[in-house]
């Protein structure tokens, strides 16, 4: 074998090593962590029929492909957490060679391997490889979509168009944010109309535009059944999650999370405070160089346009900003980092690469081990505890009601389960929490139960409201925290009989009002004390006051 051949094999060997590392980091102890709320919801949805999945995702303002896939996966491999997670991990692992392919369109082998390496140990990618949601599938499809797009504008070959179309159909049925990927491609293609992408081949721009239009028509046709169903079901109450309006800080938080994953709050704020060093890197970047290739512009557009679009819509119209939805920018973000590293020279390059590599590894280790991370939800430990503590006379109340998904997955105790507000998940949307509804629901819940086990997530809407309400109404017996956001409060609802001594000026009605807030309940007191004449009471007489009916 000559030297060049050997060189090439060296790179493939390293690539295989990086993929192997990625596999290990994603699969190691993949089943040990508790199921999270979103994951539990995915499994619950996927365990139903495909018809129900379609109905439910319409209401949930999501797309059905991943849950349908999960449905068949569970049918084959069972509904345990580890099975679902492995499916996400497989998409995550496949994203690595895909990322290498995409990077090679922009960078030399050495730096494409760097980008793949970043993807392999990226704490953010690893997190979603271990989460039973569609995000790794979305990432994989995004990488392929961009890859075929670049191949099309460079070679205009039919096979690329076919793969491109198939990839995009999968994409538009995976997540609504995939449309932003297509938007980026459209904006890039139109704004670089004059650029020649291939020096060896003349590719007629108009022809490519017509071909792309044909693809768009195919996509519209493919999407129309869903679009039609969406329009029809609109208005009958939505189960869509309500997001909060983002601030500009959220943008930087997102980029931090793309780079270093989810970290405890104090580390996150301390590291974002290092932002002047990013400015410094911008200056150090200035070196005599050849003009920046236009293809780099695709990366920059791919990173910035979805963020700007999402942020603007969230501010101006309706909040749709979530860091994980913007996972579509991470492939280009990692390739961009590798490109910046490739452009620096000498000592600075070595410094950058070492600092970056070490901090990535540290971030990954910390994300894995630290319990202070907000999105680590230890449902399993909490619910096992509750299972052990509850009796058949208790009732478990969840707030917000979504928590029913992980709860049902883990709970094996005898108590009945309900939520605040009371919700039938098959019927429709979660009702609004109003003060009247709260009081009403609590009455129904309390019944003649002995204790209320209130289990809340304090970072979700409705959790803290329920806790505050119950804190004011009942005596708290116990308070316990499981992971950063999950709290268990146990309240006493059944009281032993009270005894009251009549004072000067009391009437049976006034006593009834004092204990029951309702004068007409005097009859209960009269009955409990065998009073024939309710008007005849003596000062000093002791009355039994039964507990609230």
């Amino acid at each position: 074998m000559n030297k060049k051949c050997l060189e090439k094999y060296k790179y493939y060997f390293i690539l295989a090593g990086l993929i192997g590392l990625g596999i290990f980091l994603r699969l190691w102890e993949i089943g040990t962590e508790s199921l999270r709320l979103d994951e539990a919801q995915s499994i619950w949805q996927a365990s139903h029929t495909t018809e129900f999945i379609r109905f439910y995702t319409l209401k949930n303002v999501h797309l059905p492909l991943h849950n349908t896939f999960l449905h068949f996966w569970i049918a084959l491999f069972g509904g345990k957490a580890i099975a679902g997670r492995i499916s996400s991990a497989i998409f995550g692992i496949l994203s690595l060679p895909a990322l290498y392919l995409l990077s090679r369109e922009f960078l030399k082998r050495k730096w494409a391997l760097t980008a793949t390496g970043i993807g392999a140990i990226s704490p953010f990618w690893i997190w979603y490889s271990r989460e039973i949601r569609m995000y790794t599938l979305l990432t994989l499809i995004t990488v392929f979509s961009y890859y075929f797009f670049v191949r099309i504008i460079r070679t205009n070959q039919l096979k690329n168009y076919i793969f491109y179309t198939i990839t995009n159909i999968i994409g538009i049925y995976t997540h609504y944010f995939f449309f932003l990927v297509l938007l980026v491609q459209a904006v890039f293609f139109l704004s670089t109309w004059k650029v020649k992408w291939n020096n060896k081949l003349t590719i007629p721009k108009k022809r490519v535009l017509y071909n792309f239009t044909a693809v768009v028509i195919v996509l519209i046709i493919a999407f129309s059944p869903w679009f039609y169903a969406f329009i029809n079901s609109h208005g009958s109450g939505t189960l869509a999650p309500e997001l909060i309006k983002p601030s500009s800080f959220n943008i930087f938080l997102s980029f931090f999370e793309f780079t270093f994953g989810y970290q405890p709050e104090n580390i996150t704020t301390a590291m974002i405070a290092l932002w002047p060093l990013v400015t410094l890197m911008g200056f150090v970047f200035l070196e005599k160089r050849r003009p920046i290739k236009p293809s780099i512009f695709l990366m920059v557009t791919g990173i910035l346009l979805p963020v700007i679009f999402t942020f603007s819509v969230s501010i101006l119209y309706k909040p749709i900003y979530l860091t994980r939805y913007l996972i579509i920018i991470t492939p280009f973000y990692y390739i961009f980092i590798a490109w910046v590293l490739s452009q620096s020279k000498g000592l600075f390059q070595k410094i950058f690469i070492s600092i970056f590599g070490i901090s990535l590894i540290a971030a990954f280790i910390n994300q894995n081990t630290s319990p202070d991370i907000t999105i680590k939800e230890n449902y399993r430990e909490a619910i096992n505890y509750i299972s052990g503590e509850t009796s058949h006379r208790d009732i478990v109340v969840l707030a917000p009601p979504y928590m029913i998904y992980p709860f049902q997955y883990y709970y094996h105790g005898p108590a009945q389960i309900t939520s605040i507000p009371i919700w039938n998940k098959r019927k429709g949307a979660i009702p609004e929490i109003t003060p009247e509804k709260l009081i009403q629901d609590i009455e129904i819940i309390k019944g003649n139960r002995q204790r209320i086990f209130l289990f809340i997530a304090d970072d979700l809407k409705g959790g803290l409201e329920a806790k505050n309400f119950l804190d004011n109404k009942f005596t708290k017996l116990e308070k316990k925290q499981f992971s950063k956001t999950l709290w268990l409060n146990v309240y006493q609802t059944e009281y032993k009989q009270k005894v009251y001594a009549i004072k000067d000026g009391d009437t049976l009605s006034s006593v009834a009002y004092e204990f029951y807030q309702n004068e007409s309940f005097y009859k209960i007191i009269a009955q409990a004390n065998n009073l024939t004449n309710p008007d005849f009471i003596e000062i000093g007489q002791s009355l039994k006051i039964p507990s609230f009916p």
Partner: protein, 535 residues
């Protein structure tokens, strides 16, 4: 380097798409909006200082955007056949080494133009330089004219005025002692002077020795920015100014403004202002038509920067273009923009000390919970960086900016001298390399590093690792990286490091050899026999 010369004949400057410049303008104004929102303020004093600094930066950025808006290249014009008026070529000499002057003279006398005379304006006698007689002999050798001044006064301006008195050609070209004109200098520049209103044709300075060391390299990269997009952007508004050397000037125009002013340090800048006031035109040709020398050691670099800063700030304080009549608004903007560049020194110093103060005192200029600064700042700074890159055809370097930032204390000294009108004697930039230790010029930078180490330690100890402490530390690191520019070139670190490495290696080898010898058998036998002898 020959290939370099051929490639860089025209200084790089590219017309940046106008849409992008408008975008950059919008982003800069957007950034300014954050500072105008005073509800973010916590410490009035610190916020106020930063506010002034950032307004200055936005002003400089906008000035640059205005400059690069129209990069119409004026290429060299060969003069029409019937236009070849006599030209006096002046070479101003004040104690430079004979070898350097000889190269300039050799270039000057071999120019390809039918009608010119070369005059060496020798200030060596009045400036008490040793070699003025050798310069006279040099002139004799090359059969050039020489005017050795005997009555002192006015430094270089006085020298030129003296020369003008004794010559009579309608145009004169000026070269510093170390800037040797190329053959076609006159041929390519005289074409513009057929216009009777044209008073000045300026060409770039080029450093032949730019690859000699890190300092000359950085100095050249700074010139690339100035003689590239900045000077070329002045053409559209008739705001090109005389840069002291490598230019042709119309004599009648100088006479009209009363000769070259002898009371200013940077007389060239002032002359251009007066010429523009009289309505004359000037043009800049970005073609390299002469070769000069960059300052090779930190001392010469500092004195060169001091001179330029002093001259520009003098103009700003004493002849403020804003109030001058008969200048167009565009010209005023250009003069203000170029001269106010040297105010940068104060801003850099203030910006460097605010984080130190914040670390030591715990007082922050901005409220703790304000976290939207980045969304205003990042677009501004990265757009400006990209604009710099694009407009210089990606030739702008970190080194150039680093040296500018490191020169802050030089600019401050110049500003103070200009305000208090301190008279300073000016040494001509030295043309020979003086290798050695110029760490004294890096003293402010080294002390900044020491103070900041203390401040960071103190800040962490007193406040813990809060976001405020982390951000202030990052700014301190930012400043240190830039200030390192002077420290790098102040001392021959590289050669000393190599020397140190080899010294350590040598002594290590010696020690190893010694122990090897000890262990070897012949050595043991000798030792044994010696012991026996002692017994």
């Amino acid at each position: 380097m020959n290939s370099d010369k051929n490639q860089e004949i025209i200084l790089p400057a590219e017309q940046v798409p106008r849409l992008f410049i408008i975008f950059a303008l919008g982003v800069s104004l957007f950034y300014g909006l954050w500072w105008l929102d005073f509800s973010n303020m916590e410490s009035k004093m610190l916020y106020g200082l930063l506010f002034i600094g950032e307004i200055y930066h936005i002003w400089q950025a906008m000035g640059y955007m205005y400059t690069v808006w129209d990069q119409k290249k004026y290429l060299s014009k060969t003069c029409p056949h019937d236009f070849a008026p006599p030209v006096d070529v002046f070479i101003t000499v004040c104690g430079e080494p004979v070898g350097v002057v000889e190269k300039t003279l050799a270039g000057a006398i071999s120019m390809d133009y039918p009608n010119y005379q070369v005059y060496i304006l020798n200030d060596g006698l009045v400036a008490k330089k040793n070699n003025w007689r050798e310069i006279e002999e040099l002139a004799k050798k090359y059969r050039a004219n020489i005017i050795t001044r005997s009555i002192p006064g006015g430094a270089k301006a006085g020298n030129i005025n003296n020369g003008l008195k004794q010559t009579k050609a309608p145009f004169f070209a000026i070269f510093d002692a170390d800037h040797a004109p190329k053959k076609d200098f006159l041929k390519k520049t005289m074409g513009y002077l057929s216009d009777p209103q044209m008073a000045l044709v300026q060409t770039p300075q080029y450093y032949k020795n730019k690859d000699e060391n890190l300092l000359t390299h950085s100095a050249w990269e700074q010139q690339e920015l100035f003689f590239g997009p900045i000077c070329q952007g002045k053409n559209k508004d008739n705001a090109t100014f005389w840069c002291g050397t490598n230019a042709i000037i119309k004599r009648a125009a100088i006479e009209k403004i009363g000769g070259i002013p002898e009371d200013s340090v940077t007389e060239d800048f002032l002359v251009s202002l007066f010429l523009h006031q009289k309505g004359y035109k000037s043009v800049y040709i970005p073609e390299i038509l002469s070769e000069g020398l960059a300052p090779q050691d930190l001392k010469s670099y500092v004195s060169q920067q001091y001179r330029w800063a002093r001259g520009c700030l003098d103009l700003l304080f004493r002849h403020n273009p804003f109030f001058k009549k008969n200048l167009s608004w565009a010209q005023k903007i250009h003069y203000l923009y170029s001269s106010s560049y040297y105010l940068n020194g104060l801003i850099i110093a203030v910006n460097a000390f605010i984080p130190i103060y914040a670390l030591l005192s715990g007082v922050s200029p901005v409220k703790e919970d304000v976290n939207n600064f980045m969304i205003y700042f990042f677009p501004f700074i990265f757009t400006t960086i990209y604009l710099l890159m694009k407009s210089t055809q990606f030739k702008i370097t970190f080194n150039a900016i680093q040296m500018s930032m490191s020169s802050f204390f030089v600019f401050i000294a110049a500003a103070l001298a200009a305000i208090f009108n301190i008279k300073t004697k000016f040494e001509v930039t030295s043309k020979i390399e003086q290798v050695g230790n110029y760490l004294i010029y890096a003293l402010p930078h080294i002390s900044y590093i020491l103070i900041s180490i203390f401040a960071i330690y103190f800040g962490i100890k007193k406040q813990g690792i809060t976001p405020s402490v982390v951000t202030n530390t990052s700014w301190v690191v930012f400043n240190i990286v830039f200030f390192f520019g002077f420290i790098r070139v102040a001392y021959p670190w590289q050669s000393n490091w190599t020397y140190l490495k080899s010294a350590i290696k040598n002594s290590a080898v010696q020690i190893i050899n010694f122990y090897k010898k000890r262990g070897s058998i012949p050595y043991q036998i000798n030792l044994l026999s010696e012991k026996q002898n002692h017994k």
